[in-house]
Amino acid sequence: MSDRRWPAVALENVSKSYGAGEVAVHALRGIDLLVESGDYVGIMGASGSGKSTLMNLIGCLDVPTTGRCLLDGLEVSDLSDVELSYLRNHKIGFVFQSFNLIPRTSALRNVELPLIYARVGRVERRERALAALASVGLADRSSHGPQQLSGGQQQRVAIARAIVTDPALILADEPTGNIDSAAQREILQIFDDLNASGRTIVMITHEQDVAAHALRVIHLADGRIVSDERRGPVPPPPPLPLQDAPSLALGTLRLGEATS
C-alpha cells in the first residue's frame, strides 16, 4: 500500500564549508542521516552548530560541498535548475522562523503563490489556497496583508503556503522562535496534525518543549550529529480514504492518490 522503499531524506557523508583554505568555516562535517517517510524529526543544537545549513541542504536551497543528498531517492546534485524548482514547489514545504511572507501582498495571494508557480489554474488555485488557509484556521483573514496579522497568524499563513501544493516533506526552521507561547501551541498543534495525516516533518528548534512534539530528536554540535534519540514510533501511513480529517481533506486526498 505505502511505498517505503525510499526514505524521505537520505544524507550520505555530507559536508558543507564556506570560504576556502585557512579561513574556511566548516558548517557540517560528514553527516549521515536517514529520515523515514511519515517521521517527525526535531533537530536541536546551539547556534552555529549547523542546524540551518542542514535544513538548507535538505530543502535544496543549497548544495553540499562533499557528500550525497537524496530526496525521495533522487540525487539532488544531478537535478537541473528547473527540476530543483519543481522539487521545492511540489515535494517540500518551507516554514521559516521569520515567516518570509511577501510584503504588501494579501494572505490569500501569498498562499496562492506556490500554485501560481505550479501553473495551477485560477479557479482551482483559489479553492486550494482557501482550503489551506481554512486548515490553519485563517479563512476569515484571507484578504489581510502580512502587516495586518499577528506573528502567530503570519506563521500560520506561512504554513498554509507550505502545505498548499501538498508536499510530503515539511521543513520548519524554528517556526515558533518569533511568536508568543499561546500562538506557539496552535502552531505545534498544526504540525502534529500534519504529521498525523502522513507528512514527514523536519523541524529545527532549540526549545525542549517544542522538541517534545517530535518522534525523533537529533542533536548537532560543531557540524556533527552528537545524539539521535527515538521518542516514538513512526506512525503507519494513514488509512485511505481519510474522511476523519476534514481540515486537511484536500491535501490528504491527494497524498492518498499518490500512494495508492
Binding site: 536551497l61 543549497d62 521545492r88 514547489n89 518570509n100 511577501i102 504588501r104
Partner: protein, 409 residues
C-alpha cells in the same frame, strides 16, 4: 505562470513603491518627450523657413548671369566675352515683350551696389544689400513699404535720387527719428529717403531688413556705372502654375543671345529649387536635434536600469522566498522583465502625451510641427531602451541562488 499572472505580479511590484516607479518612468518620459518636441521644433523651423520662401512668391524666377557652374560660375567666362555673358536692359526689354512671353507678368532688373556706405548726421552704416531696381520690385519681391512710398516709375525714368530703407538700416542710422523726408549721403551722393520697408525678419540665412533700394538708373549713374551688366532679373510669372512655362520662355528668349561655347551664360533660379536646398539644410538641423534627444532617451534607459538594479537588490529576499517556494528562473526573469516593460510603456505613453502637449507651444520663436514618425519612433525606442536595460537586472535577480537571496538582509 501565465501572462495574466505575470502582469498582475508586475503591477503589484510597480504599485508597491509608487514614488520609485514614478521616478523611473520620468526618465523615459523626459526622453520620449524630448525626442518628440525637438524633432517637432526642427520640423517646425523647416516649415517656417519654407513658408517664408513661399512668401517670396512661388511664381518668381530669378535670372542671373553665369552658367550652370553654381553661384558665381559665370565669372570665369567674363572678360573676353562680356557682351554675351552679361544681362542687360536689352534682355529686360526682350522679356517684357508679351508676344514672345505670354506667361510673364513683370520683369524687374536689379543691380547690386557693392561697398555702399550710407551716412546721416555723421553716422555711417553699410547695409548688407544695396539694390538698384525698378518699382515693380515692390510687388515681385513682396516688399511693400510700411511708411512713405516706394519710388515711382517717373522717379526711375528721371534718374531721381530717392532711396527706400529697410528697418535695420533705419534703426542703425536714425535712432528713433522718422527717416521719411531726410536726406542721407550714399557714398557721398545725396539721396532723399522716401519710404521704409515693412519688416520681413530673417529668412534663415540673412537679415532681410538690412537693405536699401534706390532707382536702377540712379544707382547705375552714381554707384555701379552704366556699363556694368545687371546682377539679376526678377521675372514674375502670371501664376505659380505658369512658372515652368515662364521659365521656358525666359530660356527661349535669352539663349540665342547668351550662349558661349555651346553653354548658356545665364542661370534661371526657380523658387522650387531654393526650397529643395533649404529643406536639405533644415533636415540636417532636425537630425541634429533628434540626436541630442536620443541621448536623453538613452540616459532615461540607464535610469530604468539603475532603478531596476536597486529594486532587485532591495527585493533580493523576496526573490529568495519566491525561489524557495518553487519559482523557476524564468518566473523571476519574467516578473522583473514585465515590470521593466510596464514602466517603460507607461513612461513612454506619458512622454508621448507630454511631447504632444509641449509641441503646441511656441518654443524659442518656432511653432513646433509634430511629425507622426517621431512619435512612434520615440515611443518604440523608449520602450526598447527600457526593456534592454531591464534585462540585465532581471537576469541578475533570476540567477541568484535561493539560499544567497534568502540570507540577504
Amino acid at each position: 505562470m501565465n501572462a495574466l499572472e505575470s502582469l498582475r505580479m508586475a503591477f503589484q511590484g510597480v504599485m508597491s513603491n509608487r514614488l520609485r516607479s514614478l521616478l523611473t518612468m520620468l526618465g523615459i518620459t523626459i526622453g520620449v518627450a524630448a525626442v518628440i518636441i525637438l524633432v517637432s521644433v526642427g520640423h517646425g523651423s523647416a516649415v517656417a523657413v519654407q513658408q517664408r520662401i513661399e512668401d517670396l512668391g512661388t511664381n518668381i524666377l530669378s535670372v542671373t548671369p553665369g552658367g550652370f557652374g553654381g553661384f558665381g560660375g559665370g565669372r570665369a567666362q567674363r572678360g573676353t566675352q562680356s557682351q554675351v555673358t552679361e544681362l542687360t536692359m536689352k534682355d529686360v526689354k526682350a522679356l517684357q515683350s508679351t508676344a514672345s512671353a505670354p506667361d510673364i507678368k513683370s520683369v524687374t532688373p536689379v543691380v547690386n551696389g557693392t561697398s555702399v556706405t550710407i551716412t546721416y548726421n555723421g553716422t555711417s552704416y553699410s547695409p548688407s544689400q544695396f539694390l538698384g531696381t525698378t518699382p515693380s520690385y515692390e510687388e515681385a519681391r513682396k516688399s511693400p513699404v510700411e511708411a512713405g512710398s516706394f519710388f515711382s516709375d517717373a522717379d526711375e525714368a528721371g534718374h531721381v535720387s530717392d532711396v527706400v530703407l529697410g528697418e535695420t538700416v533705419v534703426a542703425n542710422l536714425f535712432s528713433g527719428q522718422n527717416p521719411i523726408g531726410s536726406s542721407v549721403k550714399i557714398n557721398g551722393h545725396a539721396f532723399l529717403v522716401v519710404g521704409v520697408l515693412k519688416p520681413k525678419g530673417t529668412n534663415g540665412f540673412q537679415d532681410q531688413d538690412d537693405i536699401a533700394i534706390a532707382p536702377l538708373t540712379t544707382t547705375q549713374d552714381l554707384l555701379t556705372g552704366v556699363t556694368g551688366g545687371l546682377s539679376q532679373i526678377i521675372v514674375e510669372a502670371r501664376s505659380s502654375k505658369a512658372v515652368n512655362d515662364a521659365e521656358a520662355e525666359v530660356d527661349s528668349i535669352l539663349t540665342p543671345t547668351h550662349t558661349s561655347n555651346g553653354t548658356t551664360t545665364f542661370r534661371v533660379l526657380n523658387q522650387a529649387s531654393l526650397l529643395q536646398t533649404t529643406s536639405a539644410t533644415t533636415h540636417t538641423f532636425t537630425v541634429l536635434l533628434a540626436a541630442v534627444a536620443a541621448i536623453s532617451l538613452l540616459v532615461g534607459g540607464i535610469g530604468v536600469m539603475n532603478i531596476m538594479l536597486v529594486t532587485v537588490t532591495e527585493r533580493t529576499r523576496e526573490i529568495g522566498i519566491r525561489k524557495a517556494i518553487g519559482a523557476r528562473r524564468v518566473d523571476v526573469l519574467g516578473q522583473f522583465l514585465v515590470e521593466a516593460t510596464m514602466l517603460s510603456i507607461c513612461g513612454g505613453l506619458l512622454g508621448v502625451a507630454v511631447g504632444l502637449v509641449g509641441s503646441r507651444f511656441k518654443i524659442v520663436g518656432v511653432q513646433p510641427v509634430v511629425e507622426a514618425y517621431s512619435v512612434f519612433l520615440a515611443f518604440g525606442v523608449g520602450v526598447a531602451v527600457g526593456l534592454f536595460f531591464g534585462i540585465y537586472p532581471a537576469n541578475r535577480a533570476a540567477a541568484l541562488r535561493p539560499i544567497e537571496a534568502l540570507r540577504y538582509e
